[in-house]
Point group: C2
Chain length 309, copies 2
């Protein structure tokens, strides 16, 4: 087991100004696992679904190396459901409906072979559940990456900070970095958040790219300007999956390799935006990924001499 991921596995209803997906497979752990599976052979997924969850999607995950012993299926219950509507800018959205359903019963017990996984991805979820996963790990994992959101800052800040203190890398968006730190400047916000425990902070800015902050170091990766953004749902989770998948594959946690992982994550996320739900993510090839990474190289590449007097 190279990586285990805990997070939601769900159905989404997505409205954008340009189209609607009535009931599409989503969930943080789904996107993360699918993205990471492009780089890894054997991963575990920790979550819960109802018996309404499609068997063919579970088969697809398994085919890609995602072990589902950690995915509890509750008979007679319904999977987590989220409905949202994107604004015209496609970068902000409103939640229309959240039906927790089986998520209320999520109290994960890790299969034994999961507990020695070197890489752990804590997808956005109740920090209590995220903490329980870490509690069950045998020894200290090589790297723990954690995603979260403003909802947990509003409702469970103390519990959230306890988990943040236990992880190596935290990924949140710019507004959340400001909320978590109480600082407007992202530079100051990052310094405060790193003081909470993580070695690195990734600030996700959607169509505006991502920032990686380490102790006194910063790196910026743009988002690829896309001809058409069909649905950004899951882009942040896909980013995280590509990021942690690349790190688990290369097993190199240097700042230079983290930068590469950010580029890989950004490339993966750009695919997710091109179709609804996981549609695009499941169809891309290794060649598609390489080609897209090359586009990122060209997008930011420049050479400059200092201006001579």
């Amino acid at each position: 087991m190279q990586l285990i991921t805990v997070g939601t596995v769900a159905f989404d209803r997505i409205e954008t100004p340009f189209g609607v997906a009535e009931k599409t497979v989503g969930g943080a752990a789904t996107y993360i696992s699918l993205a990471a599976s492009c780089f890894l052979e054997k991963m575990g997924l920790v979550s819960v679904v109802g018996d309404d969850f499609p068997a063919d999607v579970m088969a697809q995950l398994e085919e890609r190396g995602v072990d589902l012993k950690g995915l509890e299926v509750l008979r007679g219950k319904e999977s987590f459901f989220w409905a949202g509507r994107y604004h015209y800018d496609m970068n902000t959205r409103d939640t229309l409906e959240t039906r927790l359903n089986v998520l209320l019963d999520l109290d994960p017990e890790l299969p034994t072979e999961y507990t020695s996984a070197p890489y752990v991805m804590l997808g956005n979820l109740d920090p209590v559940v995220q903490g329980k996963v870490l509690d069950q790990m045998a020894g200290t994992p090589a790297l723990v990456v954690m995603d979260t959101m403003n909802f947990w800052m509003d409702s469970a800040m103390e519990k959230l900070k306890e988990v943040i203190a236990r992880v190596d890398i935290l990924t949140i968006n710019d507004a959340e970095a400001r909320q978590l730190s109480g600082e407007h400047s992202l530079v100051k916000a990052a310094a405060k958040i790193l003081d909470l425990g993580p070695k690195y902070l990734v600030v996700k800015k959607g169509e505006h790219g991502a920032l990686l902050f380490g102790q006194d170091r910063v790196f910026f990766a743009p988002a690829l300007p896309l001809e058409d953004v069909v649905d950004p749902t899951g882009a942040g989770d896909t980013f995280a999956g590509g990021f942690v998948g690349y790190l688990a594959r290369t097993q190199d946690h240097s700042f230079d390799n983290l930068k590469r992982a950010i580029i890989v994550g950004s490339a993966m996320a750009s695919f997710t935006c091109e179709k609804f739900g996981i549609e695009r993510l499941v169809e891309i090839s290794r060649e598609d990924i390489d080609e897209r990474i090359q586009q990122f190289v060209e997008l930011v590449d420049f050479d400059i001499e200092l201006v001579e007097n």
Copy 2:
């Protein structure tokens, strides 16, 4: 005369969540000229002020090589005045007051030596005035860069498009690119705007950086994450001044050199944000600029091998 700039020279009253500047010198042509003067010896400025405009600022401009024969001073009249208030995000603002004052009388007559300037910067202004400046040029300038804003799209779209058709490079923000083109995707917006005439489009995204679009080419430059943003007023104009100043100095309009000019413009803009008004811009040295450009190099620098199978 290496460059002439037309645009406002003004007083601003600026409120941010963190401070207020009651009456500070501003205006597009002021920022553009000051930024360009870091790279050039001899520039002309075309604008109008009242006799309330401070003589020491005019002297400062002249010391930096900005010729003021094109700056009309109207006795007994007041300079253009703008007041604005920034939101907490420091990336959006409301206009509180606009007193056009002398701007109503701006009908520029170019001094003869201005008419052969190879580089022309049309700062944000009534497109009729921008057009009149181009009408007076003797022959075709080597490069014309134009800035504008949504106000002119709302009130004078046809006149605006006539001027856009005559310039080489247009600089606007992302919302304006969407408004001007009627396209949400910036990739599609850029294609439509380039069809209007310009060879290149620069999309300014404030704290989220800038995009350069050419025919089938795109380049992205981030904004530098700053410890403190004191006042973003004039950052876009400073960007344009650094951009066109660097191009006028290097006289190279290749895509690779435009990319360098974008980085130089972004570096210059980052200084402007560090203090109110033009305070920071007038105090920086060549060494400060070189050091900051180096920070941009490090901010986006990465090397990546394609992911091996």
